[in-house]
Subunit: 190 residues, 2 copies
């Protein structure tokens, strides 16, 4: 996706090796018009898959999922981090190896909102080591729903998540795939 | 807002006194078509206020803010909970008395994304005791930006946040104001 890649090249920062900071347009300040283009592109790629629910995880995935859901005409469900009394105990859940913040590595989705009748598309901002995507995939598996695939805004292909999950059979559509970002130079995969 | 109130009456649950559960359409599963009506209504109420930025706090506020931002044609900034190395140290921040989950009561916004040139509208899902809204208002004050007002989806008027903040001069537009919800009966303010 050309527009996204040019925004990354123009604005993204690499505060330390391996870390890509895009909080000027994606995950702290959000450029909603860019999200609309991202949502359209996800729809173009998954339009024929009869998706009836979009699943993401708080927090950065929510805006992406909500804007994209307008094109699909389906509801969003977001997995919650940490323990939340409002979710109740009746949840599908998984425990992450790591998250960038908070001591709440357990994510969960109420059993009310995913079932074997659903055809689920997972959307998220980043794919690197794949821990969030693995958890979300496992939550879909627990629910008995059909996992159509995953749409990712930025994939770091130099980290192992994408390869591992594709080998496990998951269809992943990443809109910008970064092959390397050594010495401050961002190189896309295609 | 009639549509919202009827959804609350039809679907919301009161799992314990004082707690309103709307996670079937607002803050776990999200009905994006309802969010669009909510976004339009916020725009109707704040269309003439020259808002150039919408501020919210993760997680439930993000979907609401992103969908509403489409009508305003402005970016969203969401305050982050907890410590996040990607935000950096250069933040406006505040510490909440309480949040419903996680041990991360500090919220922060990078100084890059709010400044005295901004005219800010705060959007959030709930107003009850007002701690999130107080923190967000204080973050806007720290930045020197103009705080145009706050748009709230559901206000619990039987809790003190709204009264306190209006008395302090904040313009608050709540789309559904709940006067009481004793014995499982939800009564709106108007």
């Amino acid at each position: 996706m050309k527009l996204l890649k040019s925004r990354i090249l123009q604005e993204a920062e690499i505060p330390e090796p391996g870390v890509l900071k895009v909080d000027m347009f994606l995950n702290h300040q959000i450029d909603v018009s860019l999200l609309n283009e991202i949502g359209k592109e996800f729809y173009r790629r998954f339009a024929n898959d009869n998706v009836n629910k979009i699943l993401t995880v708080e927090a950065s995935g929510i805006g992406i999922a909500c804007i994209a859901a307008q094109y699909f005409g389906v509801p969003v469900v977001f997995a919650k981090k940490g323990i939340n009394r409002n979710v109740g105990n009746d949840v599908y859940s998984g425990k992450a190896v790591s998250f960038t913040k908070c001591d709440c590595p357990v994510i969960g989705v109420s059993k009310r909102y995913l079932s074997e009748e659903d055809r689920v598309l997972i959307l998220d901002d980043f794919l690197a080591h794949g821990s969030a995507l693995m958890l979300l995939s496992d939550i879909v598996r627990q629910s008995g729903a059909e996992l159509v695939g995953a749409g990712i805004v930025i994939e770091k292909a130099f980290q192992p998540g994408g390869k591992k999950l594709r080998e496990a059979g998951l269809r992943i559509e990443s809109l910008a795939v970064i092959k390397s970002m050594d010495n401050g130079l961002i190189v896309f995969d295609e």
